[in-house]
Symmetry: C2
Subunit: 342 residues, 2 copies
């Protein structure tokens, strides 16, 4: 499989201008809906129409994969947890399942490279590229062909969900060790030092954080001078991060609102934006993860998140919570009276 | 009518402890749901049970009233806008109507003292205490009896909504001039200078802001030495602020989650908390209004808002957007698997 970049076009300027003019006529003081107004303008620019459609069929794609670096002392969790959590997603018992039910979203779980066998009785889309990455602390996480394959899985899943009628996409992921790969991606694509991009993930002590930061710094050093974003992704990334990057690209190319979750999704969005530099204008940052790399990536992309609730779980949980806000931003533009109707 | 304080009891400590223990067993790293976990603990403490019920029937009460101070040069909007917006609420064309539909909430509009006649064809609960307050820049806004009557209207509306089966209450309001009264309440109850509590409301220029601040400072000076919270409310408050205070008190007394909106609702919550000092532990701050007095009041009450979207519209809009987050906090506690189920 090779990766074909979906054609990403910029926000529609005419629709954005129409949105600003429309907001000025609605029965409220100018600007009083704050970030909801900016989001409404963006939704018009994505949909190329004003008012924008209210998305009613959200879908969360949870891409799961393992990381060789998980065995290099960067996480206290055993790698088997990835497969166990995938089964938990399939049975509906994880946080993302509860939050998806809350906002009326379907959850599509995709095995893009889990190392441990997954309970065959659970419903999971099985598209493994390989059984987990190599250990990025010592060598390239994957080949460029494998990265292309994982990107293509993400593109395919986004297109399938849109084909099924889903009109707002939420990024989700699971993979023990993936905050290490994400920190490396974030450091490599933004230029910040590893210490700024690396955090405690699911909760590690000072000694493990120091080791993790060194692992990230050394891995990023190998990417110096590599100009091709996909090659950087292959060197220090992860299979689910690659899939998420493809998912984001295909979603924004199809002019569907894509809500980006926490630090893993932010890393994937950096890759997507490096491959197609208008991605940053088209995605919606669902929340600010408490993982420090998320803030680095959001700042680099110029994105202001909708929520800031100290979440650091991933799975798509923070972005899922932002779905009603996205719907609300569209709804006020469609349903509010104008001053001349008073 | 006189005002009888509803009996407000503290959070249930046993239920809060059970909630913390329950969260530690759910399939996620400890603490990784951040503020959603703290909110879940609070919901258990309110409901006196763990896990807490998921509220499914939200109601927004929009209390509307006019302010004599609106004619004292503190706002560019004519007082007639209050009645026009009440009619807009009744017809479903305001921002709060669109947002309430988004979260499945009913909107109950209550005239507690609108000065201009309201279109008789629109559906509004008519409980006027008087036709707007007196001008607080020159005299007491209302008598203590009138403040008691307005508080009682708020209590009655909360009880009616709960009786009808609503299980989460959202505070809303409308009243041209009410950011001036709210700033005075906030300055009087927190002790901050008028300059810190007074903002641009719906959007005023520097000269009007300076005048508004002076009006607030002079009015607050008249409250010095007054110990009775209801007397301070009568001197510098508003009829809808009093009603909101009663609404908050009756809601928390009935052990129903009450989501507080922006600066007006924060001012009302200060009054409610002064009357019954555990109110601050029982209410949920829906969002941080961009009006500076809101942050002063939230800080004084020790409340961390769920959303921070630069909203400054009132009506209950910010708190309404927080409803799905409150539902989500309860839902994860009821629906997530525990580690021993993996």
């Amino acid at each position: 499989m090779t990766f074909t970049l979906p054609p990403v076009e910029p926000l529609d300027g005419d629709a954005c201008a129409a949105a600003r003019a429309h907001h000025a006529q609605l029965t409220k003081p100018a600007g009083s809906l704050g970030q909801l107004e900016a989001l409404g303008v963006q939704l018009c620019g994505i949909a190329r129409e004003c008012p924008p459609p209210i998305p009613t069929r959200p879908a969360v794609a949870v891409f799961a994969a393992d990381h060789g670096v998980a065995r290099a002392g960067v996480t206290p969790w055993p790698q088997e947890i990835t497969a166990q959590m995938v089964a938990n997603f399939g049975r509906g018992g994880a946080a993302i399942n509860a939050l998806a039910r809350q906002v009326g979203a379907v959850v599509r779980v995709v095995d893009v490279g889990v190392a441990t066998p997954i309970d065959p009785s659970v419903e999971v889309v099985r598209r493994p590229v390989r059984q987990g990455t190599a250990d990025l602390s010592t060598r390239a996480a994957m080949t460029k062909d494998e990265a292309a394959d994982a990107l293509s899985v993400g593109v395919a899943i986004a297109r399938e969900l849109i084909e099924e009628g889903h009109d707002v996409l939420v990024t989700g992921e699971m993979g023990i060790g993936n905050t290490t790969a994400s920190a490396a991606i974030i450091s490599a694509f933004t230029g910040v030092d590893a210490a700024e991009a690396t955090g405690r993930g699911t909760g590690i002590d000072d000694a493990m954080l120091a080791h993790k930061t060194t692992v990230v710094r050394n891995a990023v050093a190998r990417t110096e001078g590599i100009a091709d974003p996909a090659a950087v992704l292959a060197e220090v990334g992860g299979l689910e991060i690659a899939a998420l990057a493809g998912f984001v690209l295909a979603g924004v190319a199809a002019r569907v609102p894509v809500i980006v979750d926490g630090v893993i999704a932010c890393a994937a969005t950096l890759v997507a934006d490096a491959l197609a530099p208008t991605v940053r204008d088209l995605v919606i940052a669902g929340h600010r993860s408490s993982e420090p790399g998320a803030t680095v990536a959001l700042h680099h992309l110029g994105l202001r998140p909708l929520l800031d609730l100290d979440l650091r779980l991933g799975e798509g949980t923070g972005a899922c919570l932002a779905v009603p806000i996205v719907q609300a931003a569209a709804r006020v533009m469609r349903e509010m009276a104008t001053f001349d109707q008073l």
